[in-house]
């Protein structure tokens, strides 16, 4: 046996051999590793400690660096840990720290080994054990080893003591009752003269205070002393972090520390400390103007620094300041805007965030425009970052800052056209949402929707599908605002729609149905309508349209508006592009008709052409939707089938009558018109936004048992979101506005059918069945603007200057009303449009921990009886617990503070009292530890014992104690 182990030992590969072999291997890394693991599995079973530990060493290397599983070796880890040789022990401890977790079964076996090593005279062994404990301590380990850690907290060996202090954090976290034993000593270490110890202990308090700051308010005097006295930057940073948490809880504390903090900020040369001071002031002391002023001065130095790290952190500090002190951002706007073109993505994003924080309603349009230009030149990632922040800012609180919705809607259209745009979903939601909420924006919405729909190139971009879906829906729902419904149908029927996913195609088909109904309705209405009505309404509408467009004339949109207006009169863009004499003549006729001058004379002619276009429309729908009956998707299939049957029905009636006189036609049409009328009525009921809490208002019917806890359901459904409320069959709120929409119907029907019939037919003859505008109006650019256009880069500086100018206005112009028209009504629901943001309050996670700490700390202040009798100590604990539970715990606390403010003759200096006290406590504790060296066991017993006793005492004493034992928060003013 001995011989074999020597052989094993001799021929075993060391870790170095393994690494070397791995660098030279030719068989592939994974094969090599699995071979090496096999080898280790053999070696680790060896009885020879040397062989075993070397194998474990190799295994932990493979696990750490190459991700090899080593949970199977946990028992071997325990064996190597218990070796008497330091070299082996170290390997074992390292492997344990790396592979053990709460679920490791062998964890129960190491308690005694750890206890032995924690009490070892060799400080490096102690250090190994502490390191392991800090990584893997569980409730059991923490409870059983509290005594050992407690002893080490006061050891003279600094090397061990600082580690013990750091371990306390994990012990408290796992076993809050350890606070009762260790907290005093931990606090005493705050006063240590050794800088290493202070570094460790302040680090622990920083972590503890981050979780539950209120419990540590009583220690403020100690922290304050460190803030004043310490020269160590690491310690000062941690202390500042503690104060940043404490200061908002206690205003007197803020008053106390603001001067020292400013002092550090002024004097320190260490950037990290200065930055921490700045952050402390901006988060915890933001009510002290002079301090904020100084902090902002420091931030200004940071944001213009050479070092990108400092610039980044400076901008971050500004965004911390932004909610309360917007002026700080405005003062640094030049640097912020300049950062937008920084090389560093972090800095760019931070700068963008700040820029959006500065936006107000007076110049949101201008800033968005400039940002959009930036987006065009940026790389895709940042481009989307920009779009995202514009979208988020504008839709904030139901489009609070948007005044001109026509502008905003066209901005959404522009965003959709940007090549790398991946914010389709958000744009989709907003387009639909605005449609439902803002009546006045619908005309512009339809125009934008049309521009998107008619461009065949967009159908190829997957990211745009969601936007097209919204555009199609808008076009169908608000078709009465469309300049040319026939054109919309053309766009919705174009062959490339086969690229769309079925769900969106279904929306397209539904929109075709809506538009078809609208066109037929107009046609029938025209047949029995009176000419004067048309012309009058038309004139009215035109002037209205014109005035709307005039408002936006200052912007580049003016040209689009103009062209749009012209489109109402005829198909000018197309006609001018293909100049032909007869077309222009027809155009002239149309125009004359539009103005109602020769209306009656043209009535018949128009009617015929109208009929022609309707018939061709029906033919086209039939032709294109025919194949869809065989579509795989049931939604597409069903909708196509529906529309086809309707088309067939109508076609029979209309075509049959085509040659006959008007009178007969009218008679025969009655059946069709009845159908069309009822369908139109169905479509004209207006869709409105749905409140998020609408479901809550639906009474639960009798007999329906709702399961109380649907958590398990949530697991199944996961994050499948409900579809947007507007599409499909789910009819949201219905509000009747029949008068408005019917008048619109009358207004509109003329513009489309009448103008385009002749030119459209003409055109189709030439270009085949699928008419698509090959040339585009000014609004739709011929091609995507190129990203990173070298030419446009030259004016980056101009743009930056423009942005600076714009942001400058944000304060000055807040009151200026430069709107030429009032902000349209935005439908808001009473009970909240936005999902209630679940305000996650940092719930006191460590209830027991903070309870224990309050107990220990507040117990200090209650009086001399504390150190004597447990019951009073415990009853104060009970009280703190009660306070936590009671709803008016806060006010009770405040009363206490008021009490504390009164001069207390007995304790003029609370901190000195504290000291005296702590000594007292320490004596007691020492007594306790002397009285039994096997404290671990007895301590446990004791605590159990106390629990029993406490209960009885509580019952007896609590009424008395309420007055005498009120925990007093010490006066921090010293």
């Amino acid at each position: 046996m001995a011989g074999s182990s020597i052989m094993e030992n001799l021929f075993q590969r060391s870790l170095e051999d393994l690494i070397k072999a791995m660098r030279l291997q030719l068989i592939g890394e994974s094969t090599f590793i699995s071979k090496a693991t096999e080898e280790i599995r053999r070696e680790i079973k060896s009885t020879d400690q040397q062989t075993k530990s070397t194998a474990l060493h190799k295994l932990s290397y493979l696990s750490s660096v190459h991700g090899v599983d080593m949970s199977w070796a946990s028992f071997h880890v325990v064996e190597v840990m218990s070796s008497s040789k330091f070299a082996h022990k170290r390997i074992g401890y390292h492997a344990a720290a790396q592979s053990f977790n709460d679920d490791t079964p062998v964890l129960l076996l190491i308690t005694n080994q750890l206890r032995k090593d924690l009490s070892s005279t060799n400080e490096f062994e102690v250090s190994l054990a502490l390191d392991l404990l800090s990584r893997i301590a569980t409730l059991d380990l923490a409870r059983d080893l509290t005594t050992e850690v407690f002893k080490l907290l006061a050891t003279a060996r600094v090397f061990v003591r600082k580690k013990a202090i750091a371990v306390v954090l994990r012990v408290f976290d796992k076993y809050p009752d350890a606070v009762r034993v260790c907290f005093k000593r931990l606090v005493e270490n705050l006063e240590s003269s050794d800088p290493q110890v202070v570094t460790a202990v302040i680090g622990v308090f920083c972590e503890l205070a981050a979780k539950d700051p209120r419990s540590y308010l009583p220690l403020a005097p100690e922290f304050y002393r460190i803030l004043i006295d310490s020269k160590n930057n690491w310690v000062l940073i941690k202390v500042l972090k503690v104060f940043a948490k404490l200061a908002p809880l206690e205003h007197r504390l803020g008053k106390r520390i603001v001067e020292p903090v400013c002092d550090h900020m002024r004097r320190s040369g260490a950037k990290s400390l200065v930055f921490e001071c700045v952050r402390t002031v901006l988060t915890g002391l933001s009510d002290y103007d002079s301090a904020v002023q100084l902090a902002v001065e420091k931030v200004r130095e940071l944001v213009v620094d050479q070092d990108p790290n400092l610039r980044y952190l400076g901008l971050q500090a500004l965004s911390v300041a932004a909610p309360k002190h917007l002026w700080a951002v405005l003062e640094n706007k030049e640097a912020v805007v300049k950062s937008l073109s920084d090389d560093d993505l972090n800095i760019k994003i931070e700068s963008l965030r700040l820029l959006m924080a500065m936006v107000s309603e007076s110049h949101v349009a201008d800033i968005s425009k400039v940002l959009l230009n930036y987006a065009l030149k940026s790389d895709p990632g940042f481009c989307n970052e920009i779009l995202d922040s514009i979208l988020k800012t504008c839709c904030n609180n139901v489009y609070e800052i948007v005044v001109d919705f026509d502008w905003y809607v066209s901005l959404l259209g522009e965003m959709a056209m940007i090549p790398n745009c991946q914010n389709g979903e958000e744009i989709e939601n907003q387009l639909v949402d605005i449609g439902m909420r803002v009546k006045d924006a619908r005309m512009e919405l339809v125009r934008v929707g049309r521009d998107l729909l008619i461009d065949p190139a967009l159908l190829g971009n997957v990211h745009l599908h969601r936007i097209l879906c919204a555009a199609a829906w808008v076009a169908g729902e608000y078709v009465e605002f469309a300049s040319n419904p026939f054109e919309l149908v053309d766009a919705l029927l174009q062959p490339r729609t086969s690229l769309l996913p079925p769900s969106i195609r279904a929306v397209y088909i539904n929109s075709v149905l809506k538009i078809l109904i609208f066109c037929l309705d107009c046609y029938l209405l025209q047949n029995d309508g009176s000419g004067s009505l048309y012309s009058g309404n038309l004139d009215g509408r035109q002037s209205e349209l014109f005035s709307v467009k005039n408002d936006t004339e200052a912007t580049e949109l003016a040209t689009c508006g103009g062209s749009n207006y012209e489109q109402d009169v005829g198909f000018n863009p197309r006609n001018t592009a293909e100049p032909s004499e007869d077309l222009s003549v027809e155009n002239g006729i149309d125009r004359a008709a539009m103005h109602g001058k020769t209306f009656t004379s043209n009535l018949l002619e128009k009617k015929n052409s109208m009929q022609e276009s309707i018939v061709s429309l029906l033919n086209r729908i039939e032709l294109i939707f025919g194949p869809l009956i065989a579509n795989q998707d049931v939604e597409v299939l069903e909708r196509a089938q529906n529309i086809l049957s309707l088309v067939q029905l109508i076609k029979e009636e209309i075509i049959d009558n085509s040659g006959q006189s008007v009178d007969i036609m009218e008679k025969k049409d009655t059946r069709v018109s009845a159908i069309i009328n009822s369908m139109r009525d169905a479509f004209t009921t207006e869709l409105g936004p749905v409140s998020i809490s609408a479901q809550g208002r639906v009474a639960v019917p009798d007999g329906l048992v709702l399961k109380d806890n649907l958590d398990d359901l949530q697991e199944i459904c996961g994050d499948t979101e409900l579809p947007s409320s507007s599409f499909g069959t789910g009819g949201p709120h219905l509000t009747t506005n029949s008068d408005a929409s019917s008048s619109n119907l009358l207004n509109n029907e003329e513009s489309g059918p009448l103008n385009e019939c002749t030119s459209l037919i003409e055109h189709r003859k030439r270009h085949g069945l699928y008419y698509l505008p090959t040339e585009k109006s000014e609004i739709v650019p011929d091609e995507y603007p190129r990203a990173n256009d070298p030419k446009s880069n030259s004016n980056v500086n101009d743009e930056a200057a423009e942005l600076v100018k714009l942001t400058e206005q944000s304060l000055l112009l807040k009151k200026r009303t430069n709107q030429t028209k009032p902000r349209p009504v935005v439908v808001k629901l009473d009970d909240g449009d936005i999902a209630p943001i679940s305000v996650k309050r940092p719930e006191p996670r460590d209830d027991s921990l903070s309870g224990a700490i309050k107990d220990v700390l507040l117990g200090n202040e209650t009086g001399p009886s504390v150190s004597r009798s447990y019951p009073s100590d415990k009853s104060s604990r009970k009280q703190t617990e009660k306070k936590k539970l009671s709803t008016n715990g806060r006010s009770e606390m405040k009363e206490n503070e008021v009490d504390a403010e009164k001069p207390d003759p007995e304790s003029p200096n609370s901190s000195s009292k504290n000291h005296g006290h702590s000594k007292h406590r320490r004596h007691r504790v020492k007594e306790k530890s002397v009285e039994g060296e096997e404290h671990d066991q007895r301590g446990k017993k004791k605590s159990g014992h106390h629990h029993g006793r406490r209960k009885t005492h509580q019952r007896a004493k609590s009424p008395l104690n309420v007055v005498s034992q009120t925990p007093v928060i010490p006066d921090f003013l010293l």
């Binding site: 170095e16 696990s63 750490s64 330091f86 930057n233 990290s272």
Partner: protein, 215 residues
């Protein structure tokens, strides 16, 4: 607290990985891959911060430093100061440099346990314990002595390390030197051999380096 310390080379090979919150090995490896995919896409001369919340959960920050062929990465939460963490990376690298005299990637590759020992002296359970590389060196030397006194006889290992170190030096001879990327330190890097050998030279080691954030 500090959540993790990673050292990886510019090809994404992990050289040291220490997680202070338990993670199964698969998740560790995934985290390393994720971090690398972000780091390798970052250009030079930009800030040393990366958004880490997507890999390490909320309230996670990441700072890194790029030394020749190695990335040193610290992941931590809001209880730490970002600039102080950058300095801590410097302390770590400086200690390595003292320990290995002109540390190079091979030193890190072959001295797995020594790396961990050094790191354990600086950070314990996510808490920063020591910020002076001199103090760390003292402790390391003590531990090495302990180690040597308990280990029976293993001179072969020592020799092989020495040999490797020497061979690495030879390999780097005659290779062109690249200028240091970091503005803070004018280090000399040597790159060559199998593309994995570097030397990080700190000119004035000690706390008095001019551009420390925390000094």
């Amino acid at each position: 607290m500090i959540k993790a310390v990673l050292v990886m080379n510019t090809q994404g090979k992990p050289r040291l990985a220490k997680f202070y919150e338990f993670k199964p090995v698969e998740q560790q490896q995934e985290a390393i891959r994720n971090v690398f995919s972000v780091l390798c896409s970052r250009p030079e001369n930009v800030s040393n911060f990366v958004d880490a919340e997507s890999f390490f959960g909320p309230d996670s920050r990441l700072v890194y430093k790029h030394f020749a062929t190695l990335y040193f990465v610290f992941i931590f939460d809001s209880s730490e100061n970002e600039l102080a963490m950058l300095d801590l990376i410097q302390v770590f690298v400086e200690t390595l440099d003292k320990c290995f005299r002109n540390v190079c990637e091979l030193d890190i590759v072959f001295n797995y346990s020594k790396m961990h020992t050094i790191l354990d002296e600086i950070i314990l359970g996510g808490q920063v314990l020591e910020t002076s590389s001199t103090e760390v060196m003292k402790a390391i030397e003590e531990i090495a002595r302990q180690y040597a006194s308990t280990i029976s006889a293993c001179p072969t290992v020592m020799v092989s390390i020495k040999l490797i170190r020497h061979s690495s030096k030879y390999e780097t001879k005659g290779l062109k030197q690249r200028p240091m990327q970091s503005i803070l330190f004018q280090n000399l890097f040597q790159d060559g051999g199998r593309g994995k050998i570097i030397s990080i030279k700190l000119p004035n080691s000690g706390v008095s380096a001019p551009n420390w954030y925390n000094d």
